[in-house]
């Protein structure tokens, strides 16, 4: 459960005195619009124990009448920055995401507990080469990994080449578009996009759903021992993970996180 937890047997020795993950009232420091439907909350979480790239937090909303709702959201920020950033897709029909996107201004409080999850995580110590595949808002936990990667020193990065394949509906739906362009140059991350519902005329990226030919082109050859992380809606994750295994990747090196949008 600590930020240093790894998927290795040694964690069992640390389990003897489990410490409860307490609810903490975070303070919204800033909000940032990413797309028309997606907003980032920058949170100051008191006594935040730190996290690993790919982990998530639980958010709890308690109404005046005692009604409560909880949801899980991936952390978008890397461990290197003190704030915790959550990037939230606003679902019109949802109960929690419209509140988070519309009602929270800087200075507001928000209950969170975490960090949670110790398998869909990557840091430079895990090595690579690294392949990240995102669908829609599935980019969020992968962005924590990319930001962490970009914060590493150039020598570490040189030993772990990184690629991102990001599928979005349209160019306007690409989250972190400008920052991804900057990271591609500054941290030499190979960033590829595919747009599934229409692309602008001069678009140089792919224009279809992720398929076998695309993954064969963008992915690492299987003998390289690549670490793959796939996050997005279930059909995309099922398909991408199956293809990576068919292409010869070790299933234990293909880590997945699947979600429908959470309202």
């Amino acid at each position: 459960m600590s930020s240093a937890t790894k998927a290795t047997p040694e964690v069992t020795s640390a389990r003897s005195t489990p410490v409860r993950l307490e609810w903490r009232v975070a303070k919204v420091k800033a909000v940032r619009d990413e797309t028309r439907h997606v907003r980032t909350l920058v949170l100051d979480v008191p006594e935040w124990p730190g996290h690993r790239p790919g982990q998530h937090v639980d958010v709890r909303l308690v109404a005046e009448d005692g009604y409560q709702a909880q949801r899980s959201y991936s952390i978008a920020s890397p461990p290197e920055v003190p704030s915790v950033e959550l990037t939230i897709e606003r679902l019109d029909d949802g109960e929690v995401s419209p509140y988070l996107c519309d009602m929270l201004a800087p200075g507001a409080g928000l209950e969170v507990r975490g960090p949670i999850g110790g398998y869909f995580v990557w840091d430079v110590s895990l090595g690579g080469p690294l392949l990240l595949v995102a669908g829609g808002s599935g980019i969020v936990p992968l962005m924590a990994m990319l930001r962490h990667y970009a914060a590493a020193d150039a020598a570490s990065r040189a030993t772990v080449p990184a690629r991102l394949l990001y599928s979005a509906r349209s160019a306007d739906d690409v989250i972190y578009r400008d920052e991804l362009a900057r990271l591609a140059t500054a941290a030499e991350i190979d960033v590829r996009f595919t747009l599934t519902r229409g692309a602008p005329p001069q678009w140089s990226g792919y224009r279809r759903r992720i398929d076998r030919a695309m993954l064969a082109e963008v992915g690492w050859p299987p003998p390289t021992g690549a670490q793959s992380y796939v996050c997005g809606p279930t059909p995309l994750v099922e398909s991408v993970a199956n293809i990576l295994v068919e292409l010869g990747h070790d299933p234990s090196h293909v880590r997945t996180e699947r979600f429908g949008p959470t309202g």
Partner: protein
């Protein structure tokens, strides 16, 4: 840290839950059937599938797919609760009661422990107290909603332990290993609760 909940000003229920007495704390009802797994979906051919119950002393009992299908089966309709907050009501399953399997294993000389470790294709494991898989509370399910259980939902067969959070209902299950004393499984080593009772909200290590 906060013992009493912080009130989210301006937040209110969008719609009252239809069956609040069936919804554990912190859960919401979904009509979908979300899929969550840590890795790729394994596809084990039925000819190579088997289910094994084994103890620490080398005794075991094993069923092939055909032998398993010949066992008496049940069709439980149950509510399921995922630690990622969704609950789904009245899900319809078909499978073999773990009482049937554990009784047969005991008769074959398999020594019962106080816990079991379920193990699956793909390397997934999860630990359960024996008391949680006996007494008509748990099944190995191979059918869902009148059809064979789809691979992404754990087919050909998965554990079904609906009174605990759904990560305990191991997908692609291939057997149970008897334990003397509790040991953490896959998610339990990664911060999730050892028992996972949704009504006590036992989500993570350290929860009451």
């Amino acid at each position: 840290m906060s013992d009493s909940p912080f009130i989210a000003r301006g937040f209110h229920a969008k719609r009252a839950p239809a069956k609040p007495d069936r919804l554990p704390p912190g859960q919401y009802e979904t009509r979908d059937f979300p899929v969550l797994s840590a890795g790729p979906t394994p596809h084990t051919p039925l000819a190579k599938w088997s289910f094994t119950i084994e103890d620490w002393a080398g005794h075991s009992l094993r069923w092939s797919w055909d032998e398993f299908q010949a066992l008496p089966h049940q069709t439980p309709t149950v509510d399921i609760h995922c630690v990622t907050k969704w609950s789904k009501f009245d899900t319809k399953w078909e499978g073999v009661s773990l009482d049937t399997l554990l009784d047969a294993a005991r008769a074959a000389g398999v020594v019962e422990g106080d816990h079991v470790m379920a193990f699956s294709d793909g390397g997934y494991t999860t630990n359960l107290p024996l008391a949680d898989v006996r007494g008509g509370k748990a099944w190995v399910a191979y059918g869902y909603d009148g059809a064979p259980l789809p691979a992404e939902h754990g087919g050909p067969a998965r554990l079904l332990v609906p009174h605990l959070y759904f990560w305990k209902s191991a997908k692609w299950v291939r057997g149970l290993r008897m334990l003397q004393g509790d040991e953490p499984g896959f998610w339990e080593q990664l911060g999730y609760h050892d028992r996972g009772d949704p009504w006590r909200e036992q989500r993570y290590q350290g929860d009451p």
